[in-house]
Each structure stands twice: as structure tokens, then as C-alpha cells.
Symmetry: C2
Subunit: 335 residues, 2 copies
């Protein structure tokens, strides 16, 4: 039923090649033929079959968009931006949910079956093996929002997590907090370690050693549970740097549940600046990731790498900034 190249060729009275070339940018066609072909094409409502052409060109314009963070509202914003950015670049996101997929092999396989041109891994908590596999299979990979190991050979774009940790430390010190805590994301997340390191380094300058706790996942429930425990466990902490906004929101509820006030009794600092952090009843003071920049950079990187698979791996670390809201006390005014 669908209109094929052949149909258009017949209609326009030219060869298949002529039609094909009309739709191939940079190919050699005379203005006359092109006109004939285009007329026939619009008349028939023809549009070339990407999949068929991928057979010979090896390009599908399909990008695997991989994540396992489907419980974190921040990632809805990320998906929003990625889908738009990819669409704008004439690429198509094949969304892969790795939440309950223990088997890396299977996912890799499926992406290869579809001949994806590249893979964007949007997650900080995916096990390293995934990245490795994709690369071994010769698939261009870019990591966004996570990762850190300089040994990896994949492209990377994210904030400088160590620097974010330092910024968090400076912020808490500025506000006069003397007893600080780190409520990280999952231990296995690549970013968690870097943030902790920066945080610890930064605090060290004020002679402070942070209490360290971890949430089991990037989710409200995990943040809440971890904080509930920490409140009895590490009661003296005045302010917590949380590994992520959604964890911070969970923590916030645990604190209030325990009858303590924010930021009076306990201060909270998040990371991401998801939309919800700005909602009235949340008003989370947080470190903002430049989401839009990260996404457009990631899309740019994947295009570049597809064009030149052998180029050296790129690392783009973008700066993050503090967003002042209501979960940390104000800096004491200096006389």
C-alpha cells in the first residue's frame, strides 16, 4: 500500500536512481529531473523509507535512550528535553527502560537488532558493564547526567560532581553549619562518590568531617527512609547535603514527621533543581544542574561521534549553581 521509490520513478518517467538522488542531499541531479521527481513525489505522497535505506547506508537515525530512573520526577524533564533535542536533530529516541532488566546482554542485543546509530545513557546509577558492552559492540555511547571514571572510553557530559560537592560544602559553611551530613544516592552510583569527595574536601577546610549516609535509590521513599534512620542515628547533624532533589524531598518529610522544623532544626540542600523543587510547599534550596545545556551537549556529542567514531573520548563538565530557597538558613550577615 505505501508508495515506493519505484512508484515515483514510474510516475516521473525517470529511473529509481534519479528519485533516490533527488532525496539524497548533495547528490547529482539536474534541476529539471528534480522538479519532475518532486512533483510526482508530492502527488503520490511519497516519503522515503528510512529503514530500507538504512540497509545500505548503515544509518537509522535511531538513538537508544537508556535509563533506569523512572521514579525520579527530574527524569521526566530530562526525557522531555532529550526527545525534543533529538527530534530537532532529526534523530529518533528509542526509549529503553532498564529498571528491571538485569540482563545487559539482552538490551544490547535489542539495540543492535534495530541498528541504532548511537546510545545515550541518561542515568548515574547504571552499572558500568552496560557502557562497556555498548562500546565493545562498537556503538557510539554518550553518558549524560552521571558517570565520572576517567578510564571509560565513552563520551561524557555532566556537571563536575566533585565541584558540586565543594559548592555544597562552601554553602553549608557560609551558613554557619558546623555539623554536616551527606545523604547520598545509591552507593553504586558513579556520581555519589565524586560528590562526597568534593563535599568532604570542602568541609575539611573548615575542619568539619561529614556524617555519611546513603539512600538505596533515587526515589522519595528511599530518601525518606534513609533520613528517618539518620535522625536517630546521627541526630546531631544540622544540615544535610542530599544526593538528589527527590531524595531531599523524601528527607524533608522524614524530618517533619519527626517533629523537627526546616530549616530551623535541620537544613537540607538538594541537587538537580527539578521543577518541583520550586513548588511553594517544597521550596528546596538546591544545586542546579544546567539540564538544557547537558542535553543539547549530549545530542551534539552523539552526532559528532557518529560522524567520527574514532575520535578521542570527550568529557564535558558543566558548571552548576546554587538556587536559594527555603531549606537552609540564611548566611549570617557579617558586620
Amino acid at each position: 500500500m505505501p508508495v515506493t521509490l519505484q512508484d515515483v520513478a514510474l510516475r516521473a518517467g525517470v529511473s529509481k536512481s534519479a528519485v533516490s538522488r533527488t532525496f539524497t542531499p548533495g547528490a547529482s541531479v539536474s534541476a529539471k529531473t528534480r522538479a519532475k521527481v518532486e512533483a510526482a513525489a508530492t502527488e503520490l505522497g511519497y516519503s522515503p523509507n528510512v529503514l530500507a535505506s538504512s540497509l545500505t547506508t548503515g544509518r537509522t537515525k535511531l538513538i537508544g535512550l537508556i535509563s533506569n530512573n523512572f521514579a525520579n520526577p527530574f527524569f521526566l524533564e530530562i526525557f522531555d528535553r532529550f526527545t525534543r533535542a533529538l527530534q530537532a536533530a532529526e534523530l529518533r529516541p528509542l526509549l529503553v527502560n532498564l529498571s528491571d532488566e538485569g540482563d545487559a546482554e539482552r538490551s544490547l542485543n535489542m539495540l543492535r537488532q534495530y541498528n541504532v546509530d548511537g546510545v545515550i545513557v541518561a542515568s548515574s546509577s547504571l552499572p558500568p558493564e552496560f557502557a562497556n558492552m555498548f562500546q565493545k559492540a562498537g556503538l557510539p555511547v554518550v553518558h549524560a547526567f552521571g558517570w565520572s571514571s576517567p578510564t571509560r572510553r565513552a563520551d561524557l557530559v555532566s556537571i563536575d560532581n566533585t565541584e558540586a560537592g565543594r559548592l555544597a560544602a562552601r554553602t553549608l559553611i557560609d551558613r554557619g553549619y558546623a555539623r554536616a551530613g551527606f545523604l547520598g544516592g545509591p552507593r553504586t552510583a558513579a556520581t555519589t562518590g565524586d560528590r562526597l569527595q568534593g563535599f568532604t574536601e570542602g568541609l575539611a577546610q573548615a575542619g568539619i568531617t561529614p556524617v555519611v549516609r546513603y539512600a538505596g535509590a533515587y526515589s522519595y521513599g528511599s530518601g525518606r527512609a534513609a533520613m528517618a534512620e539518620a535522625l536517630t542515628d546521627a541526630a546531631g547533624v544540622e544540615a544535610w547535603f542530599c544526593g538528589d532533589d527527590v531524595i531531599a524531598v523524601g528527607a524533608m518529610d522524614a524530618v517533619r514527621q519527626a517533629g523537627k522544623s526546616i530549616p530551623g532544626d535541620v537544613g537540607l540542600l538538594g541537587l538537580n533543581d527539578m521543577a518541583m523543587a520550586g513548588w511553594d510547599h517544597v521550596s528546596l534550596t538546591t544545586i542546579r544542574q544546567p539540564t538544557e545545556d547537558i542535553v543539547t551537549t549530549a545530542v551534539g556529542l552523539i552526532r559528532d561521534r557518529i560522524a567520527d567514531p574514532d575520535r578521542a573520548p570527550q568529557r564535558r563538565l558543566l558548571p552548576c549553581t546554587l538556587v536559594e530557597r527555603a531549606t537552609l538558613r540564611a548566611a549570617p550577615t557579617r558586620p
Copy 2:
């Protein structure tokens, strides 16, 4: 570089056909050949190229997953479920973000270029033209989470929105609210009308006529703005049935901002039961959509329709239930 059918055939000492048939369920192959082929295949790490086979079979196992609700956290849960359900059915979601895509034609075109087997529209606020176009193009379409017009020829799965409206009405009446309001989603959303109708009908039985307001979008900001206005505009309303949880959360903040208490001064009833509705500080009383059921039903419908494109359009209306939390006052105990 990738392993092809040919390679496996050579290795196994059989013809291409034999290999192809080994991987085609229901084809005629002897146990012996199958064994040989499978051995060779695993040895070489072969997996068939879906795209190549789609050329002859006409099936890509690609499903367009279309939405424009990227500001509503509820949809992250929906995407989570859809991706899992599709993956489990050996289908792949090609995610299409229609948020800023005014041009239906363009999206349709791209979906056709990729030969998607079908389309799932997950949104209640997409203009009707989309559905029409897909269908005219002969693409199997199923609508999930929205729509209602019985004149459409697409498959539909959602809650019974009129019934949901009635349930909301009954609930408010039970709690003794005499002055009720309806804070709907966008006027253009197909579901909004149905819910209002059911709500109005239900209230009529108690002789109540609802005040009606609309939010401009399914988002926190719209809900908040609409409620802020309504609070001065329609100050007498004791309880509002909101078109959606995220709108309700926005409304909640507007109410608190105005110095009123919930549910003391103003009652709120949401719809969806997104995860966040259950968070401590939200505790939204809401009407629950059976999300999981809707999703699995939608995936089932799309498979069936792909198998038999000519069958009569299906409508599956699933029941919804009230989830009691903290934004409506309790029903007065009857002696």
C-alpha cells in the same frame, strides 16, 4: 562487521533459508538443522536484523508512543509502565514528544518513515486531528488515558470519565459539602467534558450546581494560577474536584498561600493517584486510575489490532476507585 544470516549459514553448512526459518517461529525446520544453526549462531553471536526483515514482513515491532504531557509527573509513571509492558511484549517504543509540535503531518510522516507497526497515544489533551491522521494513514491507533468521543474509530482504553465525575460528586456529597467546584484540565481535553458532565449529574441529585473553572494545562503552575483566581472569584466553594493530581497540588499551594487550611476551609479531590499524591506532605485524596491495567490493556489492544487491522474498534472503560487521604474532611458519622 556485524554477523549476518549468510555468515551463520556458511558456518552451519546450510542455506540462508534454513537459518532464517530457524529464527522464524512456526517455520518448518528439522531438529537436526535447528541444532546446527543454533550452535553456529551462538558461536558467532548472531541475532537477526529486525529492520532488514521488516522489509519483507512489513513488521518492525516499533510502536510510536506519543504524548505531550511532559510536565505532569504522573506521566513518568505512565512512560515507565508503557516501556516495560512494550518491552515485555517484544515491542519497542519510539517516543514522540508532541509538546511543541504543531504540525501533525510532520510527526505522522516520521512515524511512517520508520514503518511503526502501531501508535499509542498517551494523552488526553491532543487535538483530534492527530488520531484522524494516523488512522487515515492506515496506522493502528490506540488511545490511552483520555479521549471519549464514541465517533472515533480508534481503540480506546481509559477510565470511565463520566463515572469518575459521578464518583467525585458522590464523595463530596457524602462529606457534606454543599458548595462544590470543578477545576478542570484544559477545556480542549476530551476527558474534561466527560468528567464535568458526570460531576454535574451526580451533584444534581443533591440539588447542587458546581462552580466551574479550568486550568490551562496539566501542570502545577496552571493549577496554582487557576485556583488563585478562583479563590477570589468563587470564594464560597467548599470543595473542588480537580481535573488531575498535579493541578490539585498546584491548587493546594494556592489555597495555602491564601492563608486557608485544607481540608478545614477548602477541600480538594484529585484524579490519577500519581505517586506523589501519597507523599506525606501532599496526602491528596484522589480518584485512582488503574494505571497498570490501562497500560497492559493498551498494549494488548495494539497487538490485537496489528494482528487484525479491520476488527471493530474496541472501547475499554476501566473502573476507578477513591483513595482516602487528607484533603477532604471525613464523612460525618451517621448515628
